[in-house]
């Protein structure tokens, strides 16, 4: 069709010698990329390689220090995203860009609202959205609040936002990071759909097999510069990885089991209702109460969750984000109240405070390091104290033992290879990966008997990933019990001794990682395959 003939004529996007410096960092240096229209163009590179920055530049959110941007052959000087939008560019960001207590509709039309007189014409907007959704097979309910949506739905909303603005060039920055295989497949269907309609897609991901699956062309970025432009048909994942980091791509292969038969953690009948914890009325058991709640059609965030973790065992919890993982963790940590019992080393800790649980040997690598793991505006050694403020070496009587804390921070920096000038550096100056390493080191210190590791390597580049995996394995060998939660199924399968699948707050299946593929696992996670117990 005409689009194609025109396309072959002029590239959709041409980036010429883009350079972007941030204080102390050269995020992009002399980057050159040419994207043909009607193709899916993948960009890969390790953390901090400069992918997002480059895309932000293309989307007008940041200005290049040098270089030119050409869209459909015309040179552009984007000052704001609206310029880029006007030029037919749309971007789906690495971290969701949604207003939680707005409706889907409000989020989509924001900035490009249809009007009826002064009024926001919601009727027209709804019509337009449902129509778009239909044509591209992106089903959403325009009137739901975004905060009630799962990640998959949110992803679709983000894409609809872009399409709604009639973008012909889509930028997707790590869109699959939070999706399970099935959702990824769905997304790719949509992308191919869009491609066939002549749209151009720029696609960023750390998951190389996906990249090879969807991309027509691949550009590799290392340390902020383009190092290669390859054809997916002529390259393997390993080769790509080597191009990215110049090193082997480590995969967490399973080791001989170190599982002992002493139970470290025992969770029984853990139940959490939505909309605030209410005490179980006297005379009723948790089960009866839970049944009652179900009858009343109350949504249960956690529904009668029970499992055991032995010393030296890593229990992996697989599940689509928002199916109760966060609630489970926070219930075990005592951050959120729940019914049911939690036993650590045979002691019932259900009624204990978070502090006491930590003191009794629970380590906690939170899923969102910036939200729960760090004091960004505080120094590294103070972050070392966080969560250990009542224990040696951080504490001496009522005082904080600064000297000891700093010394121990030095130890972590050494053992975990945290790249930092010193212990006084503020946490926010570290890259996500290094921040993560510090947290892992902190939570491993003081010989925990049980560790909660939520997405321990999220947003962390391959090098750091390998290091963190090794530390987890060593601790496990030393008898540590680990509850592992991860959206990265390879990581999950590779590290776990047992995998439990959580779906709508229930544990629906117990699987053996040695004979499960990510695809089948995804099936359980999305409820496509009904829970069949295998031991």
């Amino acid at each position: 069709m005409s689009a194609d003939t025109l396309a072959t004529a002029r590239p959709a996007v041409e980036l010429e010698g883009i350079t972007k410096r941030f204080p102390g960092v050269v995020a992009n240096h002399d980057i050159r990329i040419t994207v043909r229209p009607g193709t899916v163009h993948a960009i890969v590179g390790e953390n901090g390689a400069g992918k997002s920055t480059l895309m932000k530049i293309l989307y007008g959110m940041q200005r290049p220090d040098e270089g030119t941007i050409k869209v459909n052959g015309e040179q552009m000087a984007f000052r704001t995203p609206s310029d880029a939008i006007a030029a037919g560019i749309g971007m789906v960001h690495q971290h969701f860009m949604l207003a939680d207590n707005f409706t889907v509709l409000e989020n989509i039309v924001l900035g490009a609202e249809p009007r009826k007189g002064l009024r926001l014409d919601t009727a027209a907007a709804r019509r337009r959205i449902t129509e778009l959704a239909a044509t591209h097979g992106l089903r959403v309910d325009p009137d739901r609040l975004v905060e009630d949506l799962g990640v998959g739905d949110r992803q679709r909303v983000e894409i609809l936002k872009v399409l709604y603005r009639g973008a012909r060039i889509l930028i997707l920055d790590e869109p699959t990071a939070v999706l399970v295989p099935q959702e990824v497949e769905e997304l790719f269907q949509n992308l191919r759909e869009l491609k066939s309609e002549g749209l151009t897609v720029i696609f960023i991901s750390h998951k190389l097999d996906e990249v090879l699956d969807i991309a027509d062309e691949i550009t590799v970025i290392r340390r902020g510069t383009t190092v290669a432009s390859v054809d997916p048909r002529e390259v393997t994942a390993r080769r790509l990885a080597e191009l990215m980091v110049g090193s082997e791509l480590p995969t967490p292969e399973t080791r001989e089991s170190t599982v002992t038969d002493t139970v470290a953690l025992k969770v029984a009948g853990l139940t959490m209702e939505a909309g605030g914890h209410r005490p179980v009325p006297k005379g009723t058991s948790v089960r009866l109460y839970a049944d009652k709640l179900r009858q009343d059609g109350k949504r249960l965030l956690l529904d009668d969750v029970s499992f055991e973790i032995h010393k030296g065992e890593i229990l992996g919890i697989a599940g689509v984000e928002g199916n109760g993982q966060s609630e489970l963790i926070e219930a075990i940590m005592g951050i959120r109240q729940a019914h049911g019992s939690v036993e650590l080393d045979g002691r019932d800790i259900s009624s204990w405070s978070t502090l006491r649980r930590r003191e009794s040997g629970i380590g906690y690598i939170p899923e969102d390091r910036h939200r729960q793991g760090l004091l960004l505006e505080a120094s590294l050694w103070e972050n070392r104290v966080l969560g250990h403020q009542t224990r040696r070496p951080a504490r001496k009587g009522p005082w904080i033992d600064r000297k000891a804390a700093k010394a121990d921070t030095e130890r972590i920096i050494g053992e975990y290879d945290v790249r930092t000038p010193g212990v006084e550096t503020l946490a926010l100056a570290l890259s996500g990966g290094n921040q993560q390493k510090l947290i892992v080191g902190r939570e491993m210190s003081g010989e925990p008997s049980f560790l909660i590791a939520a997405h321990p390597t999220r947003g962390v580049d391959v090098g750091a990933q390998a290091a963190i995996w090794d530390h987890l394995r060593d601790a496990r060998a030393a008898g540590l019990a680990v509850l592992l939660i991860s959206a990265d199924l390879d990581e999950l399968i590779g590290l776990s001794d047992t995998i439990q699948v959580i779906y709508r707050g229930r544990l629906v299946a117990a699987l053996d990682p040695s004979d499960i593929t990510p695809e089948r696992l995804g099936g359980y996670m999305t409820g496509a395959i009904a829970g069949t117990e295998e031991e």
Binding site: P81, V109, L110, G283
Partner: protein, 422 residues
């Protein structure tokens, strides 16, 4: 619960409240509880709070905490007085708006452009407002000046002339004044309704009408127009807004300046009521207005309720301390109602649903009721100091009882910088 359901519930609530009030009035013979005088006083006292509250609403919906409302209101009063005595009420209105907006602009520059902590900036403006106005008075109103001849002085501006006009409902609350007649009969309920209606419609300052209109207008603009959507999005997630090409800085500036203008308008109203600028006439209303706005969960309707409650209590205590004692009876009856409802719930629900907590709560309620009754019967006149605090205590009590599901805009008070999301 559906929108309609809520709406009906509200109506029922209001009706029940009315019934209770007129009951208390008849029992105690304190006609001021529902007299037109009380309600026009309540209106006079509530409007400035509502306006300031609206100011707070506009700023905070755009993610800027505005504790500087008091200072902006002071600016509003001074400029209204200054322009009013020279060029009349319309000029006063405009000048007051601009004066407040000026404070807003300052706040916007500090918080939006320089990313200063919103509360610090607000506190500074609360220092500057009175300082600057006092200074201006000392320069412009010192004797020997034309203003002094016109009756101005350092603590007061000359009167604004002509004073702002007032309007009444023809027939009903004016001329034949049917409502007034009905009220003076002191019939059960009828006279109460009449009194309330007359109070709200008799000789109301034009600015009151304007202010009352501004509440629904604000709702319409913020919740029904594209501009409003953008403004709220800036308060919820500025980075998302930015990524969709919304000019966050501009919107924040506009919002904060409108916020200041509203605070200024509140000042203008005070000036209209006392026909001149009087130093210190804002009396900390900036803070009360802010409280009313939070009380109202960052929404115009709730804000109006908060301001109304405060204004009513204040008006009542100013007019008759005797009526305040009957508030004790009012409270006792409320608790009684609560107890009855609880009791019926217990009867209906099966045994195991009862918790010790429920019983203790009910016990306390019962105790409170008895104490209040006893106080009402024994105390015939509370000391003035205690009467004075009725509005404040009432506000606290309502907050304690009302469920606290307040939801402030997500990015409220967060300093936003372009291209640096977290």
């Amino acid at each position: 619960m559906t929108r309609i359901g809520k709406y009906h519930l509200a109506l029922i609530g209001v009706a029940a409240l009315l019934l209770l009030m007129s009951l208390v009035r008849v029992v105690t013979g304190q006609n001021d509880i529902t007299s037109s005088g009380t309600f026009s006083a309540a209106l006079t006292l509530a409007v400035p709070l509502a306006l300031v509250g609206l100011g707070g609403l506009w700023a905070e919906r755009a993610g800027v905490v505005n504790i500087g409302l008091e200072g902006m209101m002071v600016l509003g009063t001074w400029f209204a007085g200054w322009a009013g005595y020279q060029w009349g009420p319309v000029a006063a209105l405009v000048a007051g708006l601009l004066g407040g907006a000026l404070g807003g602009l300052l706040h916007a520059i500090a918080t939006v452009s320089f990313g200063v902590d919103h509360i610090i900036s607000g506190v500074a403006i609360n220092l500057l407002g009175p300082g600057v106005t006092r200074f201006l008075s000392e320069v412009l109103y010192r004797e020997g000046t034309a203003a002094a001849e016109a009756g101005g002085a350092i603590t007061t501006s000359p009167p604004i002339s002509p004073p702002a006009p007032e309007r009444s409902l023809p027939l009903l609350s004016d001329g034949p004044d049917l409502l007034g007649r009905l009220e003076s009969t002191h019939w059960f309920l009828l006279s109460d309704v009449a009194g309330i209606l007359r109070g709200l419609t008799h000789n109301v300052n034009v600015l009151v009408i304007l202010a009352v209109l501004l509440l629904p207008l604000t709702f319409y603009v913020l919740w029904r127009t594209p501009f409003g959507l953008r403004l709220r999005s800036v308060g919820e997630n500025p980075w998302a807004a930015e990524s969709l090409g919304v000019n966050v800085y501009r919107i924040k500036y506009i919002a904060v300046m409108i916020s200041g203008a509203f605070a200024g308008l509140g000042g203008v109203f005070l000036v209209f009521v006392s026909t001149k600028y009087v130093e210190g006439q804002t009396q900390g209303r900036g803070f009360i207005g802010l409280a009313a706005m939070i009380f109202g969960n960052w929404r115009p309707g709730g804000l109006a309720v908060g301001a109304g409650l405060f204004g009513y209590a204040d008006g009542l205590q100013l007019r008759s301390s005797g009526a305040i004692t009957s508030v004790l009876l009012f409270g006792a009856l409320l608790l009684l109602g609560y107890l009855v409802m609880q009791a019926r719930k217990l009867m209906s629900s099966e045994l195991d649903a009862r918790t010790a907590r429920q019983y203790t709560v009910m016990a306390f309620a019962a105790l409170g009721m008895i104490v209040l009754f006893w106080l009402w019967l024994t105390v015939d006149r509370l000391p003035d100091e205690l009467v004075n605090i009725t509005p404040h205590v009432l506000t606290l009590l309502v907050l304690l009882v009302a469920s606290q599901r307040l939801r402030m805009p997500k990015a409220d008070g967060v300093t936003y910088r372009r291209g640096e999301q977290h």
